[in-house]
């Protein structure tokens, strides 16, 4: 059974439509990542699942049960969800223990103390039971938020950019923590993020959002290898997205003609061409583009070449002699073409 089901939900704030006819099904035990650029409607979607925002149209179901269809509405506190907020939302007037105990106290659970200690054990914060929030670091607060969201053992856990306020090392650590907690508790999770590495590393399914719609919903490797749209290719793979026209076996963009790799078939006419930076070959053949910058990035070097007003990025180890300003032959090893 689907743990979460959104059917053509829509939401507008004033005149701006933020979520457009969005449908999404999350199976039980699955972790789905909502991935997209800032302002694309990820948080709004999550809040509609939580009941903190009401869709203008469409249906929200949890565990097969209807919770919002515009008329019937189940209040957030009765949906049995857990949520971790981007700003942590740890109550400053309660201690760590009181924060985590609160959901249990509302339920009138017995043995609150043992349950709180167990939940704090999951996030390795047992020692901080009686601290006040202002005595904790950002990473510790984030873990308290996780423990508080999980202590009532919710069916579904909603995470709104839970790691974005943390430094790189802490982010890696908490990412591992979320993965192991999921393995331990089997909770269904929906993770909002604009960090593709986070989405790809954690999720069973990645929903790539753009301007209020899901452009692709698929497993991480599929999203990475077979992006459904140029936007997905550009956002997830960091690929080059060129707008132009297919003429015979060439692709013309910004007045420059590139030879299409052998085996690429496409009807003539306007297309969007997507080529990964590791598939851009420099210094062999093809049209000459000016090298604008060379960025040494450790394991590889990124080259930026000017193409009209835009930039073609190439990643490789060759061409160590190339200097900025130099004209460099550019060709593509493999490309994907999308009809407009």
């Amino acid at each position: 059974m689907a743990a979460v089901e959104l059917i053509e939900i829509e939401k507008a704030f004033g005149a701006t439509s933020v979520v457009k006819k969005l449908s999404l099904t999350v199976r039980e035990g699955e972790l789905v990542a909502l991935l997209g650029p800032s302002g694309c409607g990820k948080t709004t979607t999550l809040r509609m699942i939580a009941g903190l925002e009401r869709p203008d149209r469409g249906v929200v179901k949890l565990g097969g049960q209807l919770v919002d269809d515009g008329r019937a509405f189940v209040a957030p506190e009765r949906r049995g969800l857990g949520m971790v907020f981007q700003s942590y939302a740890i109550w400053p007037h309660k201690s760590v223990f009181e924060n985590v105990a609160y959901p249990l106290q509302l339920k009138g659970a017995s043995n609150v103390e043992a349950a709180v200690k167990e939940a704090l054990g999951w996030v390795r914060l047992e020692a901080y039971l009686h601290r006040r929030p202002h005595e904790l670091s950002g990473g510790q607060l984030q873990r308290v938020a996780l423990a508080r969201a999980l202590v009532g053992q919710p069916k579904v856990l909603l995470l709104d950019e839970p790691l974005s306020n943390l430094d790189v090392a802490l982010r890696e650590e908490l990412r591992g923590e979320i993965a192991s907690l999921r393995a331990k508790l089997g909770t269904t999770m929906i993770l909002v993020t604009h960090d593709q590495a986070e989405a790809l590393a954690l999720a069973d399914q990645v929903a790539v959002m753009n301007k209020g719609v899901i452009e692709q919903l698929a497993a991480p490797d599929v999203v990475y290898r077979e992006p459904a749209t140029p936007f997905v290719a550009g956002f997830v793979g960091g690929a080059n997205v060129l707008v132009g026209e297919v003429q015979g076996t060439s692709f013309i963009s910004e007045g420059v003609s590139f030879a299409l790799p052998a085996g690429t078939v496409a009807p003539p006419g306007p297309h969007t061409l997507v080529v990964r930076s590791e598939d851009v070959v420099l210094g062999a053949e093809g049209p000459l583009l000016p090298l604008q910058a060379r960025l040494f990035m450790g394991s590889a070097t990124e080259y930026r070449l000017g193409l009209g007003d835009s930039v073609v990025r190439a990643v490789g180890s060759a061409l160590s002699h190339a200097r900025p300003g130099q004209l460099t032959p550019v060709s593509f090893r493999s490309v994907r073409l999308y009809a407009p």
């Binding site: 209040a75 957030p76 949520m83 981007q86 509302l106 339920k107």
Partner: protein
């Protein structure tokens, strides 16, 4: 200069506030006399009256202030902006004006509301009435503090509670209320101090009450009227009043430090307004009825009182009382009030700016302190200190006499020191926010220090300073508490004239003058609103 001006200002403050306070203290005798005073039933009665009415006022302000702050910040109540304006209106209107309105509405014999519910069923005289009127006229203190706290709460804190299983009401009780409580309580403490220091309201409502409901301020006034013999008893009541004010303010400051909860900011979307839904009409009607009844009705009653042929006769109207505004005595009192208030306001602005510019903490603290001293105590201290002429001999030959006692200069002095904190605080807040580089840029472009100040700094603090000057003017032009003690024999200011007409002779004329005053204050409010809006637009 840089050393001289702060030192001179400090010395002046010490001489005009702290030395007189010391004299007052010594006048009240030592701990032995205080204990003696404490044994007298009358003295205890007055202290109990002050504590009771002040606590009552704080409760009234809390009880009304919290729901209104909530409605204004968090809901889509009908005409939200207008509601906020009306609820914060009392801060601009002297409390004894409400009292006059309430006397017309709810005196036990002929009040308009009393007649609606039945004779003797409603009685505004007595402690309950005092607490109610003081509480409503101090309502903005609680509303503004609470509203600011409500706006600062990260909405996610409340949403997290909902997701934890709390209903909207549980969320309010367990999360919102504890988070806004410090701000609310500190607002309530200010109401308490304001109420304990007020004189007009407890005098008009407490003295005629049956049995009389004395407070420290009204008792001090009565003792001063007795002349020299009452003065030391008045001084000892003053000590009690001062202790009440300082005690409550220090408890409040201590609580604020101890219980400080950092309110993390939300993600920038600001307070979340929730729809009242189906109950919107009902709640809005309730809120507006309350506002009408508690705030607008008494003001209306003041106007109507001035229009009735005989007092307590509702329904027919006349303009015959309005002649009073042109009587020589009224004109003279208004003239003195306006001159004094204008002088005080300008001095508060200028001295406040000088003190803020000196950037000396000790001087700011010194200038801040008198605002916490109840007006009655401050006035009595000045009275005690300057009742005798002071002789100074300078350079061994020029002797001059400082005879402030029984002159309007003492009144001016009291207005200035009492409101100086307003000028200092607004100037130093504005200076703290001002961009110092503008003055530096002016210096670099070749301006002298004075020119750089005028061109670079003054424009940035002008708005705040003008606000402080206007506020001081309007508080002083209708000031009563200190004026009643310091007014020269035979003279009048608007406050004392109104007070005399209302309590002894002619409530209808009092109502007319009050109406005129109200009209001026309202007009000034509108003007000030327009000015701030223009300043904000820039």
């Amino acid at each position: 200069m840089k050393r001289l001006i702060p030192a001179a200002l400090g010395a002046l403050l010490v001489a005009t506030v702290f030395v007189p306070l010391g004299l007052l203290l010594s006048r009240s005798g030592g701990p032995g006399e205080w204990l003696e005073a404490w044994r007298s039933a009358e003295s205890r009665h007055a202290l109990a009256g002050t504590l009771l009415t002040s606590a009552g006022a704080a409760l009234v302000a809390l009880g009304l202030g919290l729901p209104f702050a909530w409605l204004i910040v968090r809901t889509d109540v009908v005409a939200r902006g207008a509601l906020k304006t009306v609820v914060t209106l009392p801060s601009a209107i002297p409390p004894y004006l409400w009292t006059m309105g309430w006397i017309a509405l709810a005196n036990p014999k002929s009040g308009w509301l009393t007649l609606l519910v039945g004779r003797d069923r409603l009685d505004v005289y007595g402690s309950a009435g005092i607490a109610f009127v003081l509480g409503t006229s101090a309502l903005p203190l609680v509303v503004l503090a609470t509203a600011a706290a409500l706006e600062r709460i990260d909405p996610a804190l409340e949403e997290a509670a909902r997701l934890s299983g709390a209903t909207a009401w549980e969320t309010f009780r367990h999360v919102t209320l504890p988070l806004i409580a410090p701000a609310m309580l500190s607002g309530a403490a200010l109401v308490f101090v304001f109420a304990s220091a007020s004189f007009g309201v407890p005098y008009l409502l407490g003295v005629p009450a049956n049995p009389p409901a004395p407070t420290l301020t009204t008792r001090i006034y009565a003792e001063v009227l007795m002349g020299e013999s009452g003065l030391s008893r008045a001084a000892s009541s003053s000590v009690q009043l001062l202790l009440v004010a300082v005690g409550v303010l220090s408890i409040n400051a201590w609580l604020a430090r101890a219980g400080r909860v950092r309110l993390p900011r939300g993600k920038g979307l600001g307070a979340k307004v929730s729809a009242l839904g189906r109950s919107r009409g009902l709640i809005s009607a309730l809120a507006w009825t309350t506002v009408l009844l508690v705030i607008l009705l008494p003001l209306g009653a003041v106007f109507l009182t001035g229009l009735q042929p005989t007092w307590g006769q509702w329904g027919s109207f006349t303009l015959k009382h309005w002649g009073v505004v042109l009587q020589p005595r009224t004109v003279a009192a208004a003239g003195v009030s306006v001159l004094l208030a204008a002088g005080a306001a300008l001095l508060v602005g200028a001295v406040g700016l000088l003190i803020a510019l000196s950037r000396r903490r000790w001087l700011e603290t010194l200038a801040d302190a008198p605002s916490a001293i109840p007006g009655t105590v401050l006035a009595l201290a000045l009275l005690v200190a300057f009742s005798r002429d002071l002789r100074f001999i300078a350079f061994e030959r020029v002797a001059f006499v400082l005879a402030l006692g029984n002159t309007v200069w003492l009144l001016l002095l009291s207005y200035v020191v009492k409101h100086l904190a307003l000028g200092v605080r607004s100037a130093s807040d504005a200076l703290a926010q001002a961009d110092p580089t503008l003055a530096e840029a002016a210096r670099l472009s070749g301006a002298g220090p004075l020119r750089a100040f005028v061109d670079g700094v003054l424009p940035q603090v002008r708005g705040a300073l003008v606000g402080a000057v206007l506020l001081t003017f309007f508080t002083c032009v209708s000031e009563l508490t200190m004026s009643v003690l310091l007014i020269p024999t035979g003279g009048d200011v608007l406050g004392t004239l109104l007070f005399e007409l209302q309590s002894y002779a002619d409530p209808a004329s009092a109502a007319v003058i009050a109406s005129a005053l109200l009209l001026i204050v309202l007009a000034a409010l509108v003007l000030q609103n327009l000015a701030t809006r223009r300043a904000e637009a820039r």
